[in-house]
């Protein structure tokens, strides 16, 4: 074989390439009198992505003087990418944020408050949970077009079989009732595993789905007033007790590991902790047997998770009003419904709730709306320390699952969280007195 | 065309190996100068300094009266033939020949024409599109020559250009090189370790040893009147026999102690070597070419007894190693140890080991060296 590659030619091509690539950065094309609005959003499910793309197209069509440029970023590294962009001062005008991470961005000064940018009428129409999740240090920084719902899905037939009371939001199961229910159901169940906690999800799900149990029992992730320490709260008696119980349920083989993500749809378990995104599939599998129940009251009332992706305007946005206009557009009833229909989430505005067959009064998921509206939803801690809090809580759940000592796991997590908060001097706001 | 001049040229290596020490030499315009010496003597270093491939430590090199010490090889207009030819393996013969001209940015037409002519001269025409790998040793050698002569350099430098060839081819190409050099009349420095090659090829020969220039002269001069014991031993095959000896002043004349015998040195020899007079009463080295020793049928005052040790029959001549009472000198050896007296006889002779012979050494055939090895003249 003869290789007649002319290396010298190859090399000169290389030299040209060097000069080319060092010059080639990003294309910055801007046409006169066209306001560009750069928008970053997470690349969610296919249906969600395409709705958002359609919404952008509709907006652009309706506003010939504005051009929204949408970039979809994979969910896995979304936060990291935004943070890195923030460092570089390269944030787009408008970003989508996962609710609980908002505080960090607000504290770091990357966001503009929305209080003066949004129409008060629109704000008044928002679900209280949307406002709660979007607030930090008494200002509103972000609003979502949808919120999330968390509850217990149940198999009506099996509940009836075990002669269990169907709880309501007004009268949820108490801890004792809940444990009794688990026991009753387990007796009739072939493998005794009756509850699906979606332990196969891992990640943020643990904090979102399981920390309401903690809060319902009187514990929490962190002390909520000052948000300065988790000590005595996350490792407090209430938290410890309920997590020990959780561990007992797991080690006592009441919980299905849900490896195949089909514990409930395969009707292996009669009870499943789940969110709004599960409804479509569950309904398809169980039909009329599907029940949606409120979270049990483990001591201080029924608590549920809340918060989802929301929109925020960055400090780099040159035209915050235009950006706010886009948000307002997304929050119009039709657009909210379009998105909520695509991903099944709870519409963020009351007017859309009324127009939603699922969420309106009498709809199968009306409970989710009620929970959020009546303040059962507990926002995940609104502190810039949230990333570490959730990471630590996920670690706790992992360790509990494998049978580790609960108290030790909690103490270690508290230690880390408190250290992180201390290292950031308690996240003082600009101008705030240092302790 | 150019003359080369080395003035006090010195090359020192950091490692302490001697390179060249204060060498003075002139190579005339158009002359073929052969640098000969044992390997490691510095002759290649000298050549490479001339080419500009090695730094000069001190002294100067002049080409055509211009000091070139600091001129890079590219600008010296010299051509060189390397021992292993250094043909560019990825180029065809044509490419190799054309390369120096392409470097001069000659027009393509002219390059083509010159390549064609050179190929004709060197009989390379049918090989022009081959690569070096597909050539025989002799062919490669010719390509290397061609590459050197194609560009009309001022100076040719040849670094053992024949050493990779077999003996027959070597003789053949040797003649060809001599012919080419005369024809082109380009000043040439030719390095070899082979004294026979040096003697047949050189107009003048420079003998170098351990970085020092030993002698420069025509082959004849060097052979007949070696400047020192080293040259005497190095030139000629086999080299000169060197015998430890002493001179005595006796009866108003000078006598030479040669083994058991004392020979009076005749006046005509003393006239030829006036220096002998100043070295009387000293030990000296006596040199005699092996072919100048003859066998004698009879023992006499002028003969020495000898015992045959070994014989090397070469067909047209026989070399006999003899044990004698003579003390063979070992300190000026250029090639290997020698403890026997060598005698070169024409024709074929049959001796058995141990056979007793009588040899005759003619006083007129002797050379004399002082105890440092310098020729006594």
């Amino acid at each position: 074989m003869r290789y007649r590659i002319h290396i010298s030619k190859l090399l000169s091509v290389g030299l040209i390439l060097i000069t080319l690539t060092s010059g080639c950065g990003k294309g910055t094309d801007s046409t006169a009198d066209l306001t560009l609005l750069s928008v970053w959003a997470h690349a969610g499910q296919e249906s969600e992505r395409s709705v958002l793309q359609q919404q952008v197209a509709r907006f652009n069509q309706a506003h010939p003087d504005i051009e929204v440029q949408l970039t979809l970023i994979p969910e896995g590294s979304y936060n990291a990418q935004i943070q890195a962009a923030a460092v570089a001062g390269e944030l787009p005008d408008l970003i989508e944020l996962d609710g609980p991470f908002l505080s960090a961005y607000a504290w770091q000064g990357h966001l503009q408050p929305l209080d003066d940018l949004l129409d008060p009428g629109l704000v008044a129409d928002l679900l209280p949970s949307i406002i709660a999740q979007g607030s930090y240090a008494d200002r509103l920084w972000a609003v979502g077009v949808f919120d999330s719902g968390l509850g217990l899905y149940a198999d009506r037939a099996k509940l009836n079989q075990a002669k269990l009371r169907i709880p309501t939001l007004q009268q949820p199961w108490s801890l004792q009732e809940f444990e009794t229910a688990l026991g009753q159901l387990a007796m009739k169940d072939p493998d005794g595993r009756v509850l699906d906690l979606k332990l196969n999800y891992a990640g943020e799900w643990y904090t979102y789905g399981l920390s309401p149990l903690l809060q319902s029992a009187g514990g929490d992730l962190i002390e909520r007033d000052q948000l300065r320490s988790a000590d005595g709260v996350l490792n407090g008696a209430e938290s410890r007790a309920i997590l020990t119980r959780l561990q007992n349920w797991i080690t006592g083989r009441l919980i299905d590991p849900n490896i195949d993500d089909a514990a409930f749809t395969g009707r292996r378990v009669p009870l499943a902790l789940g969110g709004h995104w599960n409804y479509r599939q569950y309904r398809a599998s169980l039909g009329d047997d599907l029940l949606l129940l409120p979270m049990p009251d483990l001591g201080t009332g029924s608590k549920t998770g809340m918060g989802s992706w929301c929109w925020a305007i960055t400090t780099t946005a040159a035209n915050p009003r235009v950006a706010a206009g886009f948000i307002a557009f997304l929050l119009t009833t039709e657009e909210v419904l379009a998105m909520a229909n695509a991903n099944g989430a709870v519409p963020a505005i009351r007017s859309a709730i009324d127009a939603s067959p699922r969420y309106r009064a009498g709809g199968p998921l009306h409970l989710f709306y009620q929970q959020l509206d009546k303040g059962h939803g507990v926002p995940r801690p609104r502190t810039p320390a949230y990333p570490i809090i959730t990471a630590e809580f996920q670690g706790i759940v992992d360790r509990i699952r494998s049978g580790s000592d609960v108290a030790a796991a909690l103490d270690s997590a508290v230690n880390k969280i408190d250290r992180e908060i201390a290292a950031n001097r308690g996240y003082p706001l600009p101008g705030e007195q240092q302790p | 065309m150019a003359a080369i001049e080395f003035n006090n040229l010195t090359k020192r290596y950091d490692s302490g190996i001697h390179g060249i020490h204060r060498l003075n030499l002139k190579v005339g315009d158009g002359e073929l100068m052969v640098l000969v010496g044992p390997s490691g003597c510095g002759k290649s270093t000298l050549l490479r300094m001339t080419a500009g491939l090695e730094e000069v430590s001190s002294g100067e090199i002049r080409i055509d009266d211009r000091v070139v010490n600091h001129i890079p090889p590219q600008q010296r207009n010299v051509a060189m033939v390397f021992q292993n030819y250094a043909l560019y393996p990825h180029m065809t013969v044509r490419g190799n020949l054309a390369f120096p001209l392409r470097m001069q940015k000659q027009p393509a037409m002219l390059i083509e024409e010159r390549v064609r002519r050179i190929a004709e001269i060197l009989d390379l025409t049918p090989l022009l599109d081959r690569r070096p790998k597909a050539l025989s040793g002799g062919q490669r050698q010719r390509v290397a020559m061609g590459r050197a002569i194609i560009r009309k350099a001022d100076i040719f430098l040849m670094d053992e250009p024949l050493s990779n060839l077999d003996a027959r081819l070597r003789v053949e190409i040797r003649g060809e090189i001599a012919r080419l050099q005369r024809q082109l009349a380009i000043t040439t420095l030719y390095v070899t370790h082979d004294q026979a090659e040096a003697m047949t090829l050189g107009q003048r020969v420079a003998v170098i040893d351990r970085g020092l220039l030993q002698q420069v002269g025509s082959p004849q001069e060097i052979y007949e009147r070696p400047a020192n014991a080293f040259v005497a031993r190095f030139i000629g095959s086999p080299g000169m026999n060197l015998i430890q000896s002493s001179l005595y002043r006796e009866n108003g004349g000078i006598q030479l102690q040669l083994g058991p015998r004392r020979l009076p040195i005749p006046q005509r020899v003393l006239t030829d070597f006036p220096g002998l007079a100043t070295h009387s009463e000293e030990s000296v080295l006596v040199g005699i070419r092996p072919h100048a020793i003859h066998l004698s049928d009879t023992d006499s005052n002028e003969t020495l007894p000898a015992r045959v040790c070994t014989t090397e029959a070469m067909g047209h001549e026989t070399i006999v190693h003899l044990d004698t009472a003579l003390a063979i000198d070992n300190s000026h050896q250029a090639r290997g140890d020698q403890t026997h007296l060598l005698v070169q006889l024409t024709g074929h002779h049959n001796f058995s080991a141990g056979e007793q012979l009588a040899i005759r050494i003619g006083i007129d055939d002797l050379c004399f060296f002082d105890s440092d090895g310098e020729a006594i003249r």
Partner: protein, 300 residues
């Protein structure tokens, strides 16, 4: 002074030739590394509005008291301690089999080397499918078949005990061809005469392996072990794609922790400290290898 310019002093062209590479190394390797060295002694968090302080060795102290990081270190060590010998042995076995020069060897070599040209990201994805939980997963099904039905389907990547071995297995699968090729080259460099001499001296197959093959393979073996060990400490792609360090930190690694700290949590200073620790580890391994090979040279 200008006369000092020496004939063969090629400083100008040399700098011209070497400059692009030297500049690249300086800008993209030396400078970042120096930055990491400095940052490791601060408390810099990117994006934080708080002022940066010098904190001495605090970050390092934190790391060595951080159970996550210690677990990561342990995992790397575990990976090195298990996967490296297994992979090397397998590579050696394959190389020995191929070195017999039987017909068809080339096809086998091609096959064994094939995974090496696969990007690790793709390998991780393929093996995620192989490790699919439930009896439908290929690995589960295979083990069930191989154990005559005794194997109970597992979720390999979510099982704290199985996740690491699962990652080791696919890493070995992907990397063994690389080592095999190097060892094969080493085997082919052993003069046949050595074996002939040994055979004449009465050495059997095993003794030849023990007394000729292995000693002659010493340097290539040390090389592949070193490279695989360093790779073991660089473990990241598989972990990021398949397990994200989980379950329960069972598969977290130093690089994964570093990326998490730097990239997900903006703890630049802490990540820099991890970087420094990582570098020291790699340096130690390299020095160890240098020592071994030098020793060998003196003997030979």
């Amino acid at each position: 002074m200008s006369r000092r310019r020496r004939l063969n002093d090629q400083t100008a062209p040399a700098l011209l030739l070497a400059m692009p590479a030297l500049l690249g190394l300086l800008l993209f390797i030396l400078l970042p590394f120096a930055t990491a060295l400095v940052l490791a002694f601060t408390d810099l968090r990117l994006g934080s509005p708080l002022a940066v302080n010098l904190v001495g060795l605090d970050q390092f102290l934190y790391l060595f008291n951080d159970p996550d990081f210690m677990r990561a270190l342990l995992n790397n060590l575990l990976f090195a301690a298990v996967a490296v010998p297994l992979q090397t042995l397998l590579a050696l076995a394959l190389a020995l089999l191929l070195n017999r020069g039987l017909p068809g060897t080339l096809a086998f070599r091609t096959l064994f080397f094939m995974p090496v040209v696969f990007p690790m990201s793709l390998v991780a994805v393929i093996w995620s499918l192989i490790y699919a939980p439930g009896p439908n997963g290929m690995m589960n099904a295979f083990l069930q078949w191989a154990s005559f039905g005794l194997w109970e389907a597992k979720d390999f990547l979510r099982d704290p005990l199985l996740a690491m071995p699962a990652i080791m297995l696919l890493s070995i699968w992907q990397g063994v061809g690389f080592q095999m090729v190097i060892l094969l080259a080493g085997l082919q460099g052993i003069p046949q005469t050595l074996y002939e001499a040994a055979a004449l001296d009465g050495a059997g197959r095993w003794r030849q392996l023990l007394h000729i093959t292995l000693p002659q393979l010493r340097n290539p073996l040390i090389f592949v072990i070193l490279v695989t060990t360093i790779l073991a400490f660089r473990l990241f792609d598989q972990v990021q794609i398949m397990t994200r360090g989980g379950p329960e930190n069972a598969t977290t690694t130093v690089i994964y922790e570093t990326v998490q700290a730097a990239f997900a949590r903006q703890q630049v200073a802490l990540a820099s400290a991890m970087t420094v620790v990582f570098f020291l580890l790699v340096l130690a391994i390299t020095l160890l290898q240098r020592r071994f090979t030098h020793h060998q040279r003196e003997v030979a």
